[in-house]
């Protein structure tokens, strides 16, 4: 099939960007979205033009590196699907596709579709861990964890840190990302010990990074390729209130 692509091109962090149009003429429905972009780039390179820069790595939906807004939705809006797992069979011949980078103050563009997501690392560095030392910990079965708690923690821990939550948020809020880690660790006995300190530290860092505030649009959950639930944001709020209490 043939497609028309409108792609955000931006030379560097401080350069102005604009949309440019490209044709993708030999697209197979079995191709993944990024393989389609690969082919467009192959053509560009052969013509001596600058290929489209885009982040990608594992191409199996787990590393969280791919990060493109497709037709106005981060990762393209297919349920629980990263761009790398989006296949061209979900498009039709003759479709026009808009491809843009994450846009948020906290995610500055590096080039074209690649952005700097260091802010998410800084949020984790602020407290997204248990402060345990290597070695000298107790046996894995010494503290029992109910299946419900383990499953709840796992639901939250599935986050791949891709940034789609902040990119989809009308306020560019990183609350879903932050809450997933806060909730995962708060519900486990190993993490509950420092839950109060953690929730405050991570929230402060998210704010310092320049993310907006959560106003409960729930857009993040809809865009999240792992289906992280906004119930974790409620949990974060609860943890915040708990931390306020003596």
């Amino acid at each position: 099939m043939k497609l028309k692509l409108h792609v955000w091109r931006q030379k560097g962090p401080n350069a102005p960007g604009k949309m440019e149009t490209y044709d993708a003429d030999h697209v197979s429905p079995d191709q993944s979205f990024l393989e389609m972009l690969d082919e467009v780039n192959e053509v560009l390179v052969k013509e001596g033009k600058d290929p489209i820069a885009f982040d990608h790595d594992c191409r199996e939906g787990i590393c969280g590196m791919c990060s493109q807004v497709i037709n106005g939705v981060p990762h393209g809006g297919q349920d629980r699907t990263t761009v790398c797992q989006l296949h061209m069979r979900s498009f039709k011949d003759g479709d026009e596709i808009f491809i843009e980078p994450w846009k948020a103050r906290a995610f500055p563009v590096i080039k074209d579709l690649a952005v700097d997501r260091g802010a998410y690392d800084r949020i984790i560095q602020a407290g997204g861990y248990t402060s345990c030392h290597t070695g000298g910990v107790s046996d894995g079965n010494a503290i029992l964890i109910g299946k419900d708690a383990a499953d709840y923690a796992m639901d939250a821990a599935e986050c791949i840190g891709c940034g789609a939550c902040a990119a989809s948020c009308p306020n560019s809020s990183a609350m879903l990302f932050t809450s997933a880690k806060v909730a995962q660790l708060a519900v486990l006995p190993q993490g509950a010990v420092e839950a109060k300190r953690r929730v405050n530290a991570m929230l402060e860092e998210a704010q310092a990074c320049g993310f907006g505030n959560c106003t409960n649009h729930y857009e993040c959950q809809a865009a999240c390729p792992k289906g992280i639930n906004v119930k974790f944001i409620a949990k974060l709020n609860r943890e915040y209130i708990k931390a306020l209490l003596p």
Binding site: S28, V45, C63, I124
Partner: protein, 638 residues
């Protein structure tokens, strides 16, 4: 040269404990004077950087991705082994040790494997303490599943995302150290050279992938944890950025490359659909716990809808050939069996390169919900890629390059033959022999990072003066200039073919001639063609843009250039190893029933290759392998 692995002598049960005691320590006040560079932030690198930082060393960690959390360890699905024996089914450290040695087809060092089995239990405890949400039963205890190559349930898992959860555990520990200021993290940096001064590793040269700047970093020790090289096959289950570059650059600076021909072809991957494909997707081997592999008995049934093929017309070939292990036969065996069926024209799906993995028996036994709970995400992933529902019809699978058992040669201390250069995880060759068992890669990465390197690196650092050579040394300048010169050379070619095109050509040769089955002819053919592709690369590659910017074509070209040199070594190693063992199968060396025929008399050694220049004959060094605790025997899973 005969290499010495420097393994502790005496009874193996106490070997690691004695070695730890005998290894020198660095006193706490001195630790902060030493700087350690850790390249790669996957399970091995992330765990090592976090632990060394916590111990008080100054650590600088590097990764090519935009965050330490994205290393390809994240894609491991199935689980991590440990000899906890929680299910009371007869597991022990000795059994894990034995299974790993046997699984590796007797081509690994006993002492290294023993240590791995011994610390496996600590890993689980460590991860639980970090908040890794392992699966638990209703009583709140850790749950186990079984995995290929083992008859006990010793695999711990976190749904189908165990690698992700373990990596996030290591990443969180690393993040904690970054916050504490003990670790400095450099993301989007690719190591392009190892700086060696007077035969000792003293630092690295990196390219800043955002700005293109060539940067020098000095350290009192360099730790490489940069993963495997199976992207040499172009199509593999590795991430797009995985490459041999870091380890190959080290090899070019004198580190020996061991057993490059030991590559693992994973049996349960989604078959290729066409030429456009950029990578293959793996589905956890744990699927084989409940899935049954089969192909039609009759060629004419291959195009039929699988559910319409009668039970008696199906050939459950693994159950037929290996009654005691059945569908849980080790990876190399399962992969080769799938290839045999397809070579027999009984493959299914596009191009007839696929076999069925059927869950209907398991669904009838335990219900679809239970299967969904165990593997839900894998079924989802399968459907996304193939548009087929694995609950309703059998999945189609085919083997794909997945893991490299070979890697830089290291001694028992994980130090290469270049003093000061340590190599961890998949990047080294040490514990998996000629074949890795499922759920062992995560175990090795974390064992090396959390529990081995913190001890062994001290033994080395205690013998060197901290900060003796820094980035202002002439060698650093020379290294940076060499790197720049190579980049400029590549950019100036301005030929006709893109790096991806040439990589595909290399991949085809590697897969067809140096893949699942290798012969003298196919290897000689590869050894003839690879230099031709390399030649074409250096004369006809086209890279747009400059070196002073974010330039992904240039990154790919650089990685390909290294694969083009390395691929030749891989083929050469495969040619020299005139036996079949584990993942290395030479068609000339097989029993009548098609099983691999090992030659312990002549090849019970580690082949460590010394690079002598591109296109020049590398030199082979051998480290003989001794088996005092497990008796060399024909590996049988029947």
């Amino acid at each position: 040269m005969i290499l010495d692995g420097k393994c502790p002598k005496g009874p193996i049960e106490t070997s690691w404990d004695r070695h730890r005691f005998e290894t020198k320590l660095v006193n706490p006040a001195n630790k902060r004077k030493y700087k350690v560079l850790v390249v790669g932030t996957g399970l091995a690198g992330g765990a090592a950087a976090a632990t060394l930082g916590e111990l008080g060393y100054q650590v600088e960690a590097f990764c090519y991705q935009d965050s330490a959390r994205r290393a390809h360890s994240i894609a491991a699905q199935g689980g991590i082994n440990a000899a906890k024996n929680y299910p009371n089914d007869g597991d022990s450290i000795y059994r894990l040790f034995y299974d790993t040695i046997k699984g590796g087809d007797f081509r690994a060092r006993e002492a290294d494997v023993w240590r791995l089995a011994q610390v496996s239990n600590n890993i689980i405890d460590q991860c639980v303490a970090q908040g890794v949400p392992f699966a638990r039963d209703y009583a709140g205890y850790l749950d186990n599943r079984s995995f290929g190559g083992a008859q006990v349930s010793r695999t711990f898992y976190a749904r189908g995302q165990t690698g992700q959860q373990l990596l996030l555990g290591a990443y969180s520990a690393l993040s904690r150290q970054v916050k504490a200021g003990t670790v400095k993290l450099y993301v989007r940096r690719e190591m392009l050279d190892l700086v060696v001064v007077d035969g000792v590793a003293r630092g690295i040269t990196c390219r800043n992938l955002c700005t293109g700047e060539i940067e020098s970093y000095w350290g009192d020790a360099v730790v490489l944890a940069t993963g495997g090289y199976v992207n040499v096959f172009y199509l593999s289950t590795n991430a797009m950025g995985c490459s041999v570059t870091a380890t190959w650059k080290a090899a070019k600076k004198g580190a020996f490359f061991a057993n490059p021909c030991y590559t693992q072809i994973h049996p349960t991957c989604i078959p290729q659909t066409g030429e456009h494909q950029s990578k293959l997707t793996l589905m956890s081997e744990s699927l084989r716990n409940d899935g049954r592999c089969w192909v039609p008995k009759k060629k004419e049934d291959c195009d039929k809808f699988p559910n319409d093929i009668a039970e008696e017309d199906r050939d459950y070939y693994l159950e037929r050939k290996y009654p005691s292990f059945g569908n849980l036969a080790p990876r190399d065996i399962a992969s080769r069996a799938a290839k045999e069926q397809c070579d027999d024209d009984r493959g299914v799906g596009p191009g007839k390169r696929g076999v069925y993995l059927d869950f209907s028996t398991a669904i009838n036994r335990v219900g679809e919900d239970t299967i969904a709970e165990r593997y839900g995400n894998l079924f989802e992933m399968y459907e996304k890629i193939t548009d087929e529902n694995g609950y309703k019809r059998p999945m189609r699978i085919y083997p794909a390059p997945h893991y490299s058992m070979g890697g830089l040669w290291v001694d028992y201390n994980c130090m290469s033959n270049v003093p000061g250069l340590f190599v961890l995880g998949e990047a080294n060759f040490s514990v998996h022999g000629a074949n890795r068992l499922g759920a062992s890669a995560l175990m090795q990465g974390l064992a090396d990072g959390y529990f081995v390197i913190p001890y062994t690196i001290a033994g080395y650092l205690a013998t060197v003066k901290p900060g003796a050579i820094k980035a202002d040394h002439a060698e650093f300048k020379k290294s940076a200039e060499d790197v720049k010169a190579e980049i400029n050379k590549m950019l100036s070619i301005n030929g006709k073919k893109t790096p991806a095109q040439l990589h595909r050509e290399l991949g085809k040769i590697m897969w067809n001639n140096v893949g699942m089955a290798r012969s003298r002819e196919s290897l000689n053919e590869a050894l003839k063609v690879i230099p031709q592709i390399r030649e074409e690369f250096w004369n006809n590659v086209k890279i747009t843009g400059s070196g002073e910017e974010f330039n992904q074509q240039l990154e790919n070209a650089g990685r390909l250039a290294d694969f083009l040199e390395f691929g030749e070594l891989l083929a050469k190693d495969a040619l020299v190893r005139e036996e079949s063992c584990g993942g290395h199968f030479r068609t000339e060396h097989q029993y009548e029933d098609g099983e691999a025929k090992r030659d312990d008399e002549n090849f019970c050694y580690v082949a460590a290759w010394e690079f002598k220049g591109a296109g020049k004959e590398p030199e082979l060094h051998k480290e003989p392998l001794k088996f005092d605790n497990v008796h060399l025997a024909v590996r049988s899973y029947k």
